[in-house]
Structure formats: C-alpha cells, structure tokens
C-alpha cells in the first residue's frame, strides 16, 4: 500500500454492532463490525442477498441504523451530520445510469461539489481534476448516454472524486465491463490515493486490487483477512456461496 505509514493508524471507517431491518420486517444486518484505516483498499465479499448493499446504504446515511453505529473519520452518521458524512463517503453505484443524472458529464461531476457550496474557479478545478484522474477529461461536454458503459463507470467514479471524499465505496465496480475496461478501471483505482471499500462478488478483481478482504454473509462479517489467504480457503468460500472462476488458483499468482 502506498499510503501505509503514519496515516495508517487513522481510522477512515468504523462500523460497530450495526443491525437493520427493513420496514417490511425483513432483517438484513445482524450486527456488523468492521474497521478500515486510511489508505487501505478493502474488498467486501459476499453472495447475493448477504446484505452488502444494505450495509453500503448505511455508510452515508441513506438508511439509518436500527442498532449500532457508523463513524466516518471519527464523525458519527446522524441526521445532523449527514451533509458532512455525504461529502466524506463517496458512493459509486452499480448502474452508472443511476448515478449520471445530469445532462452533461461536466454538470454531473459538478453536482456534488456544487451542493457543498463550491463555485466558480474552484468548482472548475475540481471538475477538471476529477475527470483527469479517471482519464475522462475529453468527454466533459458530452451527454452521459453517449458514452460507452466503461466510460460511464469511470465518469461515475469522477463524480464522487470531485467531492474529495475520505473513503470511496464502490458497489460491484467490475460488473458489465469488458476485459479492457475492467483492466483500465483497475489501473485507475490502484492509482487513486484514497481509502477504498469495494463491494463485489468478483473474487479475482478483489484479489487484484485489495490486500484485505471481508466476507459478509447472512448479515454479519464472517471473515476478515488477507485476500490471498481467504481466497485460498476453499471451505470458507464454499460455506459462504463464493466461487472462484474455473481454473483460477490464487496461490499460483505471483506476489
């Protein structure tokens, strides 16, 4: 990790005892505990229906915890801190079409910082900067629906980067990407100097990008450790409905 060192001790995200039931009574989270330090890139793995998306919705206060707490860089998620929390937690949705709702890429990237009150020169700088970091500066004035799917996902990352978040949370970043776009996105994510929580069931992608992984299963964190060792544990994976692609052996990869 590039940013290990003195900043490695600062906690970006702290979730403790988080439980939540939907209004219809279905309980999705049963006491989640996790800690992510600044600069870490962590994968949150889990089968469909494990509660991954529900957990993500708590990180920036879209859902409010039934029990337990979420803290972002020491600031608890509460109704009176929502504004700051939403600046600190950058959520990248699975479907970029949900995220890119403005008529042009530039306006979309500007939406977040503008809501925070950024205007004029500073706003332009942030937009340029964010687009540059994902290599999408040249499409700034295009409407989002004229972009390819991979481009849209990169712009979606930029919309969040423009808010200069404490932690970047990506929901299934590799879904629907062709291999080239997938690799390009991985390169971009690897070079970002922010804390990343990546929610996925794409195990090779987690291995490629994240040193550490958490397995969320049936509403609790079932495992927490180095991605390589978790993925080498066939029994653990099988117990939580996680599977590596055919022919993929994590132990055979170069370190």
């Amino acid at each position: 990790m590039t940013s290990a060192g003195d900043s490695g001790t600062v906690v970006s995200l702290q979730v403790s005892g988080l439980a939540y039931a939907y209004p219809d009574g279905t309980q999705a989270l049963f006491g989640v505990d996790l800690t992510i330090r600044r600069g870490e890139r962590v994968a949150l793995l889990g089968p469909n229906g494990a509660g991954k998306t529900t957990l993500v919705m708590h990180l920036n206060g879209i859902l409010t915890a039934g029990h337990g707490t979420v803290e972002v860089a020491g600031l608890p998620v509460r109704s009176d801190t929502l504004r700051e929390i939403r600046r600190r937690v950058g959520l990248v949705f699975q479907d970029p079409d949900d995220q890119l709702f403005m008529p042009t890429v530039r306006e979309d990237v500007a939406f977040g910082p503008a809501n925070l009150g950024v205007r004029g020169e500073e706003l332009d700088r942030r937009v340029r900067d964010a687009l540059d970091r994902v290599g999408m500066l040249e499409v700034a004035d295009r409407p989002p629906h004229h972009l390819s799917f991979g481009q849209r996902r990169r712009v979606a990352v930029a919309t969040v980067l423009a808010m200069e978040p404490e932690i970047l949370v990506l929901d299934e970043p590799s879904s629907n990407l062709d291999p080239a776009s997938r690799r390009e996105l991985a390169e971009i994510l690897r070079n970002l100097d922010v804390t990343v929580l990546m929610v996925t069931h794409d195990l090779p992608y987690a291995l490629e990008l994240c040193e550490r992984s958490l397995i969320l299963s049936r509403g609790v964190i079932a495992a927490d450790g180095a991605t390589r060792s978790l993925l080498a544990d066939d029994e653990l994976l099988a117990a939580h409905r996680l599977e590596l692609p055919y022919g993929f052996a994590p132990s055979a990869l170069p370190r």
């Binding site: 949705f93 949900d98 008529p103 629906h145 808010m163």
Partner: protein, 254 residues
C-alpha cells in the same frame, strides 16, 4: 401517431441562430406563433411574409429544407382533419370539381393549415438550432418553476434509457414469436407497460439515492448563468416583431 418523434431535432451548428441565447429564442418562437395565430386568415400576403421570415431564419441557421419537410410529417393527422372541414362545414357551398364544399369550411381549413404549418416550422427551427440542454437553461432563465424544469431535465436524461428498455422488451416479445394482431394481444403489451413502469419508478428511486449521496437537498445547485445581452434580445426580437407588425398591418387593411 407521429412515429419516430423520439428523435430530438437538434442539428449541431455554429450559426448566428445557434449562438443566440436560448431564452431569447424561446420567446421569439412563442411570440412568432402568437402573431401568426392573431393574423386574419384572409390575409394571404401576411402568411407569405411569415413564411419568408421563417425561410430567412432557416437559411441563417443553416437548417436544410429536407429536414424541415421531414419533420412536418408530425402535422399529418391535422392535415387530414383540415381536409375534412370543407365537407362537413356549414354555410354557403361552392362547387369545386363537382364536389359541394362549404365556403366557410374552406376558409377554416386554410386557416388551420396555414397557421399550424407556420407554427410547426417555427417549432422545428427552434428545436433544430437549440441544444436540448440549452433549451432547459433558457426555460430556467425565463423563471419557469425550477421544479418543472428539473422534471423535464430528468425526463430528457432518462428518455433514451427508458425507450431502450421498451425496445429490448419488444425484441424479447417478438423473438418469441409475438405479433400484436388485435385486442387479444393487449394483455401482453399491458404487462410490458406495467414492467416498464416498475423499472422507471425503481430507477427514479435509485437516482434519488444517488443524488442524496452527493448532497442533494431538494434544490439543484445553480452553477449556470446564461446572460443575454441587449443586442441579442434585439436580434431575437426581429422575428416576432416583424410577424406581429405583419399581423397588425393585415388587420388594419382587412
């Protein structure tokens, strides 16, 4: 009706007409349409002047005649209606090629055809020379309720997404041998419509979440300022003022 009107009309370009601020063009187009409607229908000359004015705008905006004509197809249902009026209209009747036609009906048909045509051409020129995004900014600038403009913004953004979903559902239906022949197939189509509604609604919810995640509190941040100079307003005013003058002159001559 009006097949294919989901294609936006905008024709990219960099002409004086394109460069005018959208709020000026919106007012000009509406003003022109009002002037046309207020023109007495027997003033043939006035309509010819209006048509020339539009031709001048089209030339200045480099909008090809072919595009305008193709787009006028949208008028067809009303052309049919107008053609029917002389047959069912009241009043004095005249013989034309052996057909007994109502004279006031002929006037009414002419009135609707002339005004609807001029109106639709003005709208086509507006849409062809104004980027949809700019049109919305212009509407905002004209103090239309911002919520209404926001709704239209979201609608335009997601129109292609929703239409794409509708198209995929149609392909899925047809690839399994579905042909809509008569009313018995309606339940299948209605199920598609229902599914489309659910997808649209759920997407709306997700978009709302995405907006919340980036600090939305009910107001779109105003980051745009689209000023129009007095000169630009004056340029844009030429069309409606000339049309209005024509209408007034025609009325006073009539």
């Amino acid at each position: 009706m009006s097949a294919g009107h989901h294609h936006a009309l905008y024709l990219p370009g960099d002409t004086p007409v394109h460069r005018l601020p959208p709020q000026c063009k919106l007012i000009a187009a509406v003003g022109f349409a009002v002037a046309v409607v207020a023109t007495p229908r027997e003033a043939w000359g006035a309509f010819a002047v209006d048509a020339l004015l539009l031709a001048a705008v089209a030339a200045a905006g480099r909008v090809p005649l072919g595009l305008v004509l193709r787009r006028m197809v949208i008028e067809v249902p009303f052309v049919l209606f107008a053609v029917a009026i002389p047959f069912i209209g009241l009043g004095e009747r005249v013989e034309v090629l052996g057909l007994s036609l109502s004279l006031p009906g002929l006037w009414a048909a002419w009135n609707i055809l002339a005004k609807a045509t001029l109106g639709v051409v003005a709208s086509i020129l507006l849409a062809a020379t104004t980027e949809p995004r700019m049109m919305l900014l212009g509407a905002e600038r004209l103090r239309l309720p911002s919520l209404l403009v926001q709704i239209a913004t979201f609608m335009l953004r997601y129109l292609s997404v929703i239409l794409d979903q509708a198209r995929r559902m149609r392909i899925a239906r047809e690839s399994r041998g579905f042909v809509a022949r008569d009313i018995r197939q309606a339940p299948v189509l209605a199920r598609s419509a229902g599914a489309l509604f659910i997808r649209s609604y759920e997407r709306g919810e997700r978009v709302h979440l995405a907006m919340l995640s980036r600090g939305y509190t009910g107001q779109m941040p105003a980051v745009h300022d689209l000023p129009a100079s007095r000169r630009q307003w004056a340029v844009a005013a030429v069309l409606p003022v000339l049309a209005l003058t024509t209408a007034v002159v025609a009325r006073s001559l009539a």
